[in-house]
Each structure stands twice: as C-alpha cells, then as structure tokens.
C-alpha cells in the first residue's frame, strides 16, 4: 500500500510541477485592444512617429553611433527604457520590459521574427515603402489614434505650404536644390530617397539639381568629390555637417576653397547649414521639426 501511495504521490507532484512550465505571452494580448499599451519600438524613426501621435514608447532602441536617443527627442524619452542599437537590440532588456507590442523596421528585423514574436505581437514596417505619412497612419490605426495622425499630417502640410511660399519668394519658382553632407572622410550628396529627398523635393517643391536623380534610388546618398559640385548647378544647397570637430574643420576647409566660392548658391548666399538631427531623422516628428527650422530659416 505504502509504495503504491508513494508512486501516485510522485506522479501527482510531477504533473503539478510540469504545469508550472513556461507561461505563454497570450494573456498580454488582450491589453493591446484596451489602448493601455506598452510599446517597444525597435526603430528610432518609429519611436518618433509614436511621439508624434502623443504616445511615449515604453522602450526604444537608440541611435547606433550616439549610443543614446536622438538629441531632438531625448527630453521626451526620459521614462523610456533603452534597448540597445537597432542593429543589435538588447533582447534581455526587451524581454524584461514585457511589452504588449513590438514595432520594428523590416530592414533590421527581417531575418528572425520568431525571437521577437515569442515576447509580444510584432508589427513590421517597411520604411522604404511610402512616406512617413503612410507609416504614421498605419501606426495611428494600430493604436486607435487615426484622428491624431490625420491632424498631424494636415498640420504639417499647412506649414509646408507656407514655407514653400517663403522659398519661392526668396529663390523663385522651380529652383534647383541639392543636399550634401560633410563628414571628416568624405563628401556625400543625397539622392531623392529618404531622409532628405522627400522633404526637399516633394514637400518643399525644389527641383532636384542636375545629377541628384542619378543617385541610386535605393541608396540614401552617393560619395562625390568636391570638383564635381559645380556640375550640379544648384540654386540652393543644404549642408548637413556632422557634429564632430573633424567634420566641422573639413567643412571650413571646403568653404575656403575656390570651387566652393565659385558656386552659384554660395555667391547668392543660398547655402543652408542644417543640423543632422532632426533633418536626417525620417519620421513624422523629425520632418515636422525640420520644417519648423526651415520656416525660421526662410522667414529671415
């Protein structure tokens, strides 16, 4: 009798213990619909789209080079957990966050979604498809803030119209523009793709300067040499200078070169030096902030 009882007891114990196995993330799903969301954003740009809708993500990846949130939104992310760089997110921090949804950029997450799906439902965005307006509306739908998304876009479009007017007043219609970036190592010209293409050529109505369209549409920029700058024949040049001292020195040297001084845009004082952030942050909030700066620049 005693041994039989012992066997039964051990079987019961075994069953009880095995029932304590890994808990599934199922229960968390219901939270999402209630609007009580805990979103983990694995793209700095999606983070800023969320911020544009008035939602602070519970966790977000940081800028790869900065190892921190982008400077123009840092103060809005004080309570947000850092999840490492987008290229190599800190999985443990993500898991510890217990998010109700994970938003990610297809570029980084494309390979193994399984890992993320295990933690929470995953929403993948292809940031190369459509504009930030589309991404913002898609997010708006997910978080039940369609109205805010629509208003944000309308707001932006209204402001853009004003700035466009200012620009045409200053430079005339159909003026040609280009955007370049000066780093310590090289000089780059931006193409018509994100981050600089849409805001300059679609929103502000500039015509791409000669050769800008030749930049591979799948690449954000192309490296050029200073000698070819005159060939672009741009009426306006937007210059993004990296924050480090070497880049600043490189730009100063370029400004003193005879090639630079001979440029049409330089002679007419239509060179606009802009900071890398928010201009290179292709998101709803990033572009809005850039537009605010543009408004100030051209109202002078």
């Amino acid at each position: 009798m005693k041994t039989k009882f012992g066997i039964i007891l051990s079987i019961v114990l075994l069953l009880v213990l095995s029932a304590c196995g890994p808990a599934s993330p199922k229960e968390r799903k219901s939270e999402e619909k209630n609007g009580n969301q805990k979103i983990a954003s694995l793209s700095i740009h999606l983070t800023n789209d969320l911020l544009a809708l008035g939602i602070t993500p519970a966790g977000s990846v940081v800028g790869g080079g900065l190892k921190d949130f982008l400077p123009h939104v840092k103060d809005q992310l004080k309570n947000t957990k850092k999840l490492g760089p987008a290229a190599d997110p800190d999985m443990e921090a993500l898991l510890a966050l217990k998010p109700s949804a994970i938003y990610m950029d297809e570029e980084y997450g494309g390979k193994d979604l399984g890992k993320f799906k295990k933690i929470a439902p995953v929403h993948v965005f292809d940031l190369d498809e459509g504009t930030w307006r589309d991404h913002l509306k898609k997010i708006g739908k997910l978080v039940n803030r369609d109205k805010q998304a629509k208003e944000f876009v309308e707001d932006y479009d209204k402001e853009t119209k004003e700035v466009k007017g200012l620009i045409q007043h200053e430079l005339g219609k159909n003026s040609k523009a280009m955007a370049i970036r000066v780093t310590a190592k090289e000089l780059r010209v931006f193409g018509t793709a994100r981050p600089m293409g849409p805001i300059l050529f679609d929103d502000l109505g500039f015509t791409p300067a000669n050769g800008v369209k030749k930049v591979d549409a799948n690449q954000p920029y192309q490296v050029i040499s200073q000698e070819v700058l005159p060939d672009f024949d741009a009426d306006a040049i937007f210059v993004v200078v990296n924050q480090d001292d070497q880049s600043k020195t490189a730009f100063k040297q370029m400004e003193n070169s005879s090639i630079w001084k001979g440029l049409k845009a330089v002679k007419n004082k239509h060179v606009y030096v802009v900071p890398d952030q928010p201009w290179l942050d292709y998101s709803a909030l990033g572009n809005k902030m850039a537009m605010d700066q543009a408004e100030k620049m051209f109202s002078k």
Binding site: C20, P22, A23, A93
Partner: protein, 338 residues
C-alpha cells in the same frame, strides 16, 4: 593491473581538473551576467526545467547559445595556436598574427558581398567561406615562407604572415567599402572580434568543426611532438614530415577560421593560451594541447562576459578585451625571445 602514471601525466591531469573547475565557474558567471538579473538559484532551477517564461527564454535563447559559441571558439583558437606554434617551431605563431584571420575576414567579406543576406540557414556556410579564405592565406604563407633547403623558416613565417595579413586586409577593406552602411558596420564589428553569433544555428555551424578537428589534433600529439624537434630529427624518427605537416596545418586553419567565423576576429588568444598551458604542464602535446583549448575557453568566455557586463549597456567586443591582455603578453614574449 594498473599502470602507474608518470609524474608529468599526474601533474597534467591535476592542472586539467583545476581548469575544468575554473571553466565551469566562468560559465556560471557568464550565465548570470546580463541586462536582466536572474538569481543564481533560479538559473539552476531553470536548467532543470522549472524556470518561468522569462528565465527560460533568457537562458536558453539568449545566453546559452552565445556562451557555447565563445566556449567552442575559445577551444578552437587555443588548439589552433598550439598546432601552429609546433609546426612553425615558433612561440610567436598565432592564427591572427600569421594572417589566417585576415584570410578568414576576406572569405567572410566575399560571402557578404556576393551571397549577401545573413539569413538563418546561410549561417551554416559562413565557416566554409572563412575556411576558404584561411586556406588561401595559408597557401601563400607556406609558399613564401618555404625555403628549398631549410624548409619553412620560423622568422620568415612571421614576417610573411604580417605581409599576407596586410595584403588580405587591403582587399577586404576595398570590398567592404562597396558594401552598404549596415553590412559595413557588421564587417567592421566582426573585425574587432565581436561575438555576433547569438543563435543556436551558429552553435550548430561551429560544433562539428571543433568536435572533429579538436580530437584529431589531440590524436596527432605524437606527430606534433616530433615535428617540434625540427625537420631533420622528425624525418630521422620516421615521420612523413611534409604530408603530416600539411594535414595539421589544414587542421589549425580549419579550427581557427571556423571559430572566428561566428565569434569575430579574435587575435592573440591562439598565442596566449598555448603559452600558459606549456608553462603549466610542459611541452608534451598530449598534455598541453587539451589544456590550451581549455585555457582558450576560459579566457574567451570571461572576456566576453567582461565586455558585456563591465561596459553595459554599451558592450565592447570580446576581441578587444582579449587583445588588451594578449598584446602586452605578445610584446613581452617578443622581448624575451631575443
């Protein structure tokens, strides 16, 4: 009837047991290190299947594969270094210094450039590409360092290795400049020894290399002992010198290239581990070869843990930590061998 152990063997087995314990400790420390704190007791619980969702995921999906990769890579590099030092009869030989890693990097960049997409299944082929690059580097090194009369000359080997390293490095740099920014970032992080393999698939891709080539090298201990004595003595003792040497060189290349393919280009480990091992148990390969692998394991696991923990949340690559210790040691040896 029990055969009495020689004092050498007794000492070796003692030291070996000690290092097994140290490596277990290192592995446990590493398992406990991470952004998400898990108490040691829970780690043990989880291992026996009683963990909750969080601890199971963290341990089995995130930490364990990475630790296994560093363990295997450490063993691979330790053994590879031991073989190379014996073959070249040069205490300064190391797969990184000899240019094998540069060859492996070249293979990796070729893979990334032309076969792209670092997707899941394709990871299995990465060791093959790095091995191909390593073999190419080894071929040139042997070709250039070989003297018709004197065989492979130890000092020339190092110099040729540096040249080969620079040559492959230049081609790699050229190719990597054509990559897009993300792939370039990956390549540059790989080159400083960032343990990028984090998934079980990478463990699977590395495991057969170490498990086949490691024991093979150990079985060849006698040959290695003989070869370290020099070609003429080795031939006199009846070893088929050239054939054995090529086979063992291939083994060393395979071990190091497979290791660095998922663990990143980690230098100096193949130099330091054999040295410490030889100091502890003497120059007989049957004793110091396995110990060298074990020391490689301990160093790499600890280096990766330190890189992750001390500088959290911005981890630094394990290769940098190893080099910070290994490079001064290399200089010390260089000064002494004069």
């Amino acid at each position: 009837m029990k055969k009495a152990m020689s004092p050498d063997a007794r000492r070796a087995s003692g030291v070996f047991t000690l290092f097994v314990l140290i490596s277990i400790a290192a592995i446990l420390i590493s398992l406990n290190t991470g952004t998400l704190p898990i108490p040691p007791l829970k780690v043990i619980q989880t291992f026996f299947g009683y963990g909750d969702f969080t601890s199971t995921t963290v341990l089995f999906d995130y930490r364990l594969p990475r630790i296994l990769i560093t363990m295997l890579a450490g063993i691979g590099l330790g053994i590879s270094g031991s073989i190379l030092q014996g073959l070249s009869r040069n205490p300064l030989a190391d797969p990184g210094i000899l240019g094998l890693h540069a060859g492996a990097a070249f293979g990796l960049i070729v893979y990334v450039t032309y076969f792209h997409s670092l997707n899941e299944k394709a990871s299995l082929f990465i060791p093959l590409f790095t091995f191909g690059g390593g073999v190419a580097a080894a071929f040139f090194i042997v070709l250039l360092a070989h003297d018709k009369f004197k065989g492979i000359m130890p000092i020339r080997l190092i110099l040729v290795g540096i040249a080969i390293s620079a040559g492959f490095g230049a081609v790699t740099l050229f190719l990597s400049l054509r990559l897009n920014e993300d792939t370039y970032l990956f390549a540059s992080r790989w080159l400083v020894g960032n343990v990028w393999g984090r998934d079980w698939i990478h463990v699977v891709s590395l495991l057969p290399w170490i498990f086949i080539l490691g024991p093979y090298a150990w079985l060849q201990s006698k040959t290695l002992n003989v070869l370290s004595l020099g070609d003429s003595v080795a031939t006199g003792l009846g070893a088929a010198v050239q054939k054995r040497r090529l086979l063992l060189l291939g083994t060393a290349v395979g071990l190091s290239c497979a290791s660095v393919s998922v663990a990143g280009s980690i230098g100096f480990l193949g130099l330091v581990a054999p040295h410490l091992a030889r100091r502890l148990v003497g120059p007989m390969y049957q004793y110091f070869l396995p110990l060298s692998g074990l020391i490689g394991l301990v160093i790499l696991v600890l280096a990766d843990t330190i890189g992750r923990a001390v500088f959290a949340p911005n981890s630094i690559p394990a290769g940098v930590v190893v080099a910070a210790i290994g490079a001064p040691y290399f200089l010390y040896l260089l000064a002494r061998t004069k």
